[in-house]
């Protein structure tokens, strides 16, 4: 495991709660797996958000472009494919939100990665992971494993992981 990448989600100039929740989980996993946490932030004029994200990650991957001013699956996908191909994170986390639900399945198919959606639990298991998901409208939980080697892409249910305040990370800007 080298890097866990979190895709920051923001709307109308504000980072959405799921972003902080993903950081908490990414940090915890990163410490147990010896992986750095990076954050991908896309947008236009989102420097203040990048500053806010700095203490949460080892690396802030900021991509500013007019075409990224608002979320669009195709442009986000293009930029993410480039970033993920370059940096090869072992695990990428995206919110299971209107944005993540639109983006993740196609992205995983393009990169031929295993995707688990709507995760409420993520545990390392050897070189892989075991994730917890809800089935049948939440009446049953399932432990899901992967038949494929990494890298992995998970979408994370908003509210599933509590935000834990931790010491600041260097947040190097790229």
């Amino acid at each position: 495991m080298n890097e866990i990448m979190v895709l920051a989600e923001h709307r109308r100039g504000e980072l959405r709660d799921v972003t902080w929740e993903m950081f908490s989980k990414a940090r915890q996993l990163g410490e147990s797996l010896g992986a750095e946490v990076s954050v991908a932030l896309f947008g236009k004029g989102v420097n203040p958000l990048a500053e806010a994200l700095k203490p949460k990650a080892n690396r802030v991957l900021l991509v500013e472009d007019d075409r990224l001013e608002s979320f669009n699956t195709e442009t986000y996908e293009k930029v993410l494919i480039q970033l993920m191909t370059e940096r090869k994170p072992s695990l990428t986390l995206i919110g299971h939100t209107a944005m993540g639900m639109d983006l993740a399945p196609g992205l995983a198919a393009r990169l031929k990665m295993a995707l688990a959606t709507d995760c409420i639990g993520i545990d390392p298991e050897g070189e892989s992971f075991s994730v917890t998901r809800q089935l049948y409208g939440g009446k049953v939980n399932a432990k899901v494993s992967f038949l494929k080697k990494g890298p992995y892409l998970f979408t994370v249910r908003p509210g599933a992981f509590p935000v834990v305040e931790r010491d600041a990370l260097p947040g190097k800007r790229d």
């Binding site: 299971h96 639900m101 196609g106 959606t117 709507d118 494929k148």
Partner: protein, 263 residues
């Protein structure tokens, strides 16, 4: 406009007791009633409404055993023109990714302008087949669509976002959309209506007809596998209310007022 709609037969578990079977990997399906996945019901209604407005053909497509014929007949009774069922012992154990492969191969054989699917299935809730299928077909897609406007060779798809917001995306045809519940009011299907389509042919295709190798589908073609099921822990802070409807309503109202849920 020719439309293909992907549907799934699922157990109705909203009001049923769900127990885990002996294998620990599935639920006990005995005694459960099966029906068309709720999201797919809206997708098929949307397709039929578009056909009624613009003409063309609606083909309904599913992956499943013979029992899924019942689901396809419901869709035919609603107004779909053709039904195709993909079935093969090799499909067993398919995750969302391995399900999208045969669906894509089947759709390639059908002339289409638009593919619709439900946002997700009531049973496993992956919400993944639509997006993956669009990639396999090489067409653009939009998910969580709660309103649809057709303009020549383009669509304006309204996507439902969190917090009561929506965004509108313009998308060129052919395209794939995943349909959100509430986009329309699915029409009622009577038993007589289903009887009328009882003799209608359902085309059945397997891996051979779809030019797929058995190892590309099913568990061997999948990325995920369910290891075990377990019952969620009962969370703290739940308050069980008792009483008749009127008492319950008043109690709920009090709680809402108390917690600031009412302005």
């Amino acid at each position: 406009m020719n439309i293909v709609v992907c549907v799934k037969r699922v157990p109705e578990t909203a009001d049923a007791d769900v127990t885990i079977d002996k294998s620990g990997k599935d639920i006990d399906r005995s005694g459960l009633v099966f029906d068309l996945n709720e999201w797919d019901n809206y997708a098929i209604e949307e397709a039929i409404a578009l056909k009624e407005k613009f003409g063309g053909k609606v083909t309904v497509l599913t992956l499943g055993g013979e029992e899924s014929n019942e689901t396809l007949r419901k869709c035919l009774a609603m107004g779909a023109d053709d039904a195709v069922r993909l079935t093969d012992p090799a499909f067993s154990g398919s995750d969302a990714y391995a399900t999208a492969k045969p669906l894509a191969e089947a759709i390639r054989k059908i002339p289409f302008d638009l593919v619709l699917a439900g946002v997700q299935a009531e049973d496993d809730g992956y919400g993944q087949v639509g997006g993956v299928l669009a990639k396999f077909l090489g067409i653009p897609h939009a998910s969580l669509v709660n309103r649809l406007e057709v303009q020549d060779k383009k669509l304006r798809a309204h996507r439902e976002l969190e917090g009561g917001l929506e965004e509108v995306v313009e998308i060129d045809l052919p395209a794939l959309l995943t349909i959100q519940t509430g986009i329309n009011q699915p029409r009622y299907v009577s038993i007589m209506g289903i009887r009328k389509v009882a003799k209608k042919e359902i085309k059945v295709l397997g891996t051979a007809e779809l030019n797929l190798k058995p190892e590309e589908v099913g568990l061997s073609g999948s990325n995920l596998r369910v290891e075990r099921l377990f019952t969620p822990q009962v969370g703290e802070g739940a308050q069980m209310l008792q009483g008749n409807m009127e008492e319950l309503s008043l109690k709920v109202l009090d709680i809402l007022k108390d917690k600031g849920g009412l302005a």
